[in-house]
């Protein structure tokens, strides 16, 4: 992508209030993730208090059923939840972009086969399939990443294929072909640079989805029970029936709000970026 | 160009669009009269305001646009004084529109018959049965078999959809018909047939027709008079007959000179230098002077008025009589 196009995108993006809010939220989470060890008051894996303690000055959000500090758990949870979501989304996006570009540009039978695959993945209800996969594979960070990316790639692949298809018929790509440019030249100079901003927007929107699904899977007890993601915290809260007591205020509410805030950050950024790079969507708001 | 007994009279109509960058003066101070049974061509380049002017007549200007001044007299009634509800009665009954893209102007989920019937029933107290039978007559008039009344728009070709649009425009026998680039994008043969149909219906029904077009030779060929618009201003208003030989305004001259001919001596065409002005910050004085070969200092200071010339035509140029007197502009 040329620098001026980038600059232009940035300029339009900055005028979008949603985008600014989204990026600010994401920056805050990035800070927490990087400095989790410094910020959190305790080691989340140590039993530092009595079980089921109410919030106090020593434990701002109380303790869980085995006496671990909830606030520290949540701060460290950002690493697992966001990290896992981002890694899975990146892998899914890479697959999606490659499939989209190949299907769109190659056309013909390759396109037909790849797109039928996309249709199949999109029709199968995703959570049941994920539960089946996760149950069969067993809980671990990388198994979750695998399960998530196997499902998520399909939607971006379809979006990017549509973009490549319209790009292929666009005058300037046809013109580049007529001057005798090779397939590689056209892909790398005309198609991929035009698709990348959209890929990026899709990556951010996909991260939103992976974070939510990871939380659901962990909540169902299909995540890695050792590592503390926000979903895992809620799994234990549910298992210990925290919502039947006053503990829901500090054990259930905060992790959910954190998930919502992170997802909202990705959603705002993603929508704003999509609107900036995809002229068809401009004026959607 | 007499205004007496005119069906439509526009006086100093101005329409602007208010966007983030400022006020786009799409139409400024246009005065115009159209007689019953007259076909007048509104000619200009893209973005000159000709469509905006046409839609202003029907008061169909949407936000961020607004008609900011002037009078629109149709049949002795000033439309500017009418509320939106009253306008709804006037639209289609008194003035109808054949839109630019008939492809998209018909609702894809309704049968063409339904769409014509609903426009009849919106204005007249007739039974459904009467409305359907009139719809069939209308379709027959534009050369579409009556049995196709229950077909959907996507089942017609481009030229036929345009005919359906014409039938729809005639549904309430309007006195004034606006045709907004209604044949642009059609094939030459189809265009010839559609325009022929409009022409035929106009004389048999004694309608006034405003033909909005960018195609000067075509307008010269078929209309009675023409109005040339540049940057939202009327620059010349004249009889179509003989206009090609004696355009007065330098912009009209430029247009005539830029078009190759199919018969006669082939002359070198010349384009008009520069490009149309930005309508947010139009030039001072005559809006054409930055591109005009004959411009003098006064042109950049005073805006010329649209004045009657010796032969009855109107032109907005400080040196109109100079060009008007010249019979040798183009042989």
């Amino acid at each position: 992508m040329s620098t001026s196009r980038l600059r232009e995108i940035l300029k339009t993006f900055r005028r979008n209030p949603l985008g600014v809010v989204g990026v600010s939220i994401l920056c805050a989470f990035l800070f927490v993730t990087v400095f989790a060890d410094v910020i959190s008051p305790y080691d989340p894996y140590e039993r530092v208090g009595k079980p089921f303690e109410k919030p106090s000055t020593t434990h701002l959000l109380g303790t869980n059923d085995i006496g671990q500090d909830l606030l520290s758990e949540m701060i460290h949870g950002a690493r697992i939840s966001l990290g896992l979501g981002f890694v899975a989304a990146t892998i899914a996006m890479t697959i999606g972009t490659v499939v989209g570009v190949v299907a769109g540009y190659a056309g013909g039978i390759v396109d037909t086969i790849l797109m039928r695959m996309v249709d199949i993945v999109l029709v199968i209800p995703f959570l049941p399939l994920m539960i089946l996969l996760a149950a069969l594979l067993g809980p671990s960070f990388w198994n979750l990443v695998l399960v998530l990316s196997v499902i998520i790639w399909a939607r971006p692949a379809r979006v990017i294929r549509a973009q490549v298809l319209s790009l292929k018929e666009r005058g300037h790509v046809v013109a580049a072909r007529s001057t005798g440019g090779t397939v590689a030249h056209i892909l790398f100079h005309h198609v991929i640079p035009a698709v990348l901003p959209l890929s990026l927007a899709q990556l951010i929107l996909a991260t939103r989805t992976t974070i939510l699904i990871e939380a659901s899977l962990s909540f169902l007890g299909l995540g890695d029970p050792i590592s503390k993601s926000w979903g895992t915290i809620l799994y234990y809260a549910q298992a210990r029936s925290a919502f039947l007591t006053g503990a829901w205020l500090w054990w259930i509410l905060p992790p959910g709000l954190l998930i919502s805030a992170a997802v909202l950050g990705f959603a705002f950024t993603g929508y704003a970026l999509e609107e900036t790079v995809n002229p068809r969507l401009r004026g959607r708001r | 160009m007499t205004e007496i007994g005119a069906l439509l009279k526009l006086r100093d109509v101005s329409t602007s669009f208010f966007i983030d960058q400022g006020e786009v003066k799409a139409v400024s101070d246009v005065s115009l009269a159209v007689r019953r049974g007259e076909m007048i061509g509104l000619v200009g380049e893209s973005g000159c305001g000709k469509t905006t002017l046409g839609l202003s007549i029907m008061k169909l200007i949407d936000a961020p646009g607004r008609i900011i001044g002037g009078e629109i007299w149709l049949n002795g009634v000033d439309l500017m004084q009418k509320t939106e509800k009253e306008m709804r009665r006037i639209r289609w009954k008194d003035v109808a529109l054949i839109p630019q893209s008939a492809m998209n102007a018909l609702n894809p989920v309704f049968k063409i018959g339904q769409q014509i019937v609903e426009s009849i029933r919106a204005h007249e107290r007739v039974t459904t049965k009467a409305a359907w039978s009139r719809t069939k007559e209308l379709l027959d008039m534009v050369g579409i078999k009556a049995e196709r009344v229950r077909d959907y728009p996507h089942e017609f070709s481009g030229g036929m959809k345009q005919r359906v649009s014409i039938a729809m425009a005639l549904a309430c026998s309007p006195e004034l018909l606006l045709s907004d680039e209604s044949t642009t994008g059609l094939d030459v043969m189809t265009e010839a047939q559609v325009l022929g149909l409009i022409n035929e219906l106009q004389s048999s029904l004694r309608m006034a027709v405003i033909l909005i077009s960018h195609d000067l030779p075509l307008v010269l060929d078929i209309s009675d008079s023409l109005a040339i618009i540049y940057a939202g201003k009327l620059v010349e208003l004249a009889e179509a007959k003989g206009f090609a030989a004696r355009p007065v305004h330098p912009y009209s001259q430029g247009l005539i000179h830029s078009i190759p001919r199919i018969h006669g001596e082939q002359e070198t065409c010349e384009s008009i230098p520069g490009s149309p002005p930005d309508l947010i910050h139009p030039p001072e004085g005559c809006k054409f002077h930055p591109r005009c070969a004959f411009a003098e200092p006064v042109c950049g200071e005073d805006e010329p008025e649209l004045l009657e010339q010796a032969d009855g035509r109107l032109a907005a140029c400080h040196f109109a009589e100079r060009f008007g007197g010249r019979g040798d502009v183009q042989s």
């Binding site: 199949i120 209800p125 959570l127 996969l133 149950a135 659901s216 829901w248 | 289609w92 919106a122 089942e155």
Partner: protein, 327 residues
């Protein structure tokens, strides 16, 4: 038209084949021995003879091809195996639970779609106004919340703290209500789970309807309807909304699958006796036959719903119902 439907049937047949095959292949392709997948984790506590019996029962000693044929034959007879945990036939267990899930997801689907259409239309009218921007932000915020968490918070507030609604289940335990009283009881238990499912999909429907409406309101045929002097009501409801509903029909299909995914977590939170909660329990207990059976039934239901809506779509869109003779 027939071509369109034929194509659709074919397409879904392929999806079905893939789902059925996946269900067969996954446990056999996973690392570890398939016997553990099919016999449960406790299989290693059994004697060699018992293990051989399980191997023989599932035909694990035969070739993959023969196993597949056996599997298909069983499936065709509606035999999904026995739950390793409960010992009951999987088919029967699912049949008992499915109506509850259908009630839950069906209600939520209808409510979410209708509200989405109403709110989206309203917001498109007030485009760019404060209430429009507010409703967009609100809907995005709600859609960012994990649905199971929303469910937990709803329970904590409305059931536990305010004691307005029941905490869990589909009916009050130890009661034998009949008639109208039963209906009321079921409805009461339905409110919270349906709300959390509706909130899960509402914002998507709302944003789509609003975007679709804006798109249509800017179209030439809506402009023409106004030029024809139609009343504002006829323009919006007759001309615009009819067309804006077309993309909603497609979204409705996608939502069917989405609802079933949502039902798993929602039923878990509310201890609702549907297939979703059963699948969750099966996953926790590593009860593979039950898990696979539930997966298969949910997939078939979703595919069936998709096929149904594809068959109904032509009624909405004449371009599909009566394709033009040209091209």
């Amino acid at each position: 038209m027939r071509k369109f439907l034929l194509g659709k049937i074919l397409q879904y047949a392929i999806v079905m084949a893939v789902v059925v095959s996946l269900n067969f292949l996954l446990p056999r392709l996973m690392p570890g021995t398939p016997i553990e997948m099919l016999g449960g984790e406790g299989v290693w506590l059994l004697s060699q003879a018992e293990r051989d019996a399980i191997t023989a029962k599932h035909g694990l000693d035969k070739s993959l091809g023969q196993q597949y044929i056996q599997y298909l034959a069983n499936l065709f007879r509606g035999e999904l195996g026995h739950s390793y945990n409960w010992g009951q036939p999987v088919g029967q267990m699912i049949a008992k639970r499915l109506p509850w899930t259908l009630l839950l997801t069906g209600t939520a689907l209808i409510l979410s779609t209708s509200f989405g259409i109403l709110l989206g239309t309203f917001a498109s009218w007030r485009r760019g106004k404060k209430s429009d921007i507010l409703s967009i932000s609100a809907s995005m915020t709600v859609s960012s919340m994990p649905s199971f968490w929303l469910g937990m918070v709803l329970v904590a507030i409305f059931a536990v703290q305010l004691k307005l609604l029941p905490v869990f289940g589909a009916r009050s335990p130890w009661t034998d209500y009949t008639g109208f009283r039963l209906v009321l009881d079921v409805l009461e238990h339905l409110i919270l789970p349906v709300t959390s499912l509706v909130l899960l999909t509402l914002s998507g429907n709302f944003l789509l309807m609003r975007y679709s409406m804006l798109d249509v309101l800017g179209s030439d045929y809506v402009f023409m309807a106004r030029a024809k002097g139609m009343t504002e009501g006829a323009v919006v409801y007759r001309h615009a909304m009819r067309n804006a509903l077309l993309p909603m029909a497609t979204a409705f299909m996608l939502n069917v699958g989405f609802m079933f995914s949502g039902a798993i977590v929602t039923e878990t939170v509310f201890a609702y006796p549907g297939v979703g909660r059963m699948m969750y329990e099966a996953a926790l207990a590593r009860d593979y036959p039950l898990l696979q059976g539930a997966f298969l039934v949910i997939s078939i239901t979703v595919i069936g719903a998709n096929l149904l809506s594809d068959f109904l779509y032509p009624l909405l869109d004449p371009r599909v119902r009566r394709p033009s003779r040209e091209h």
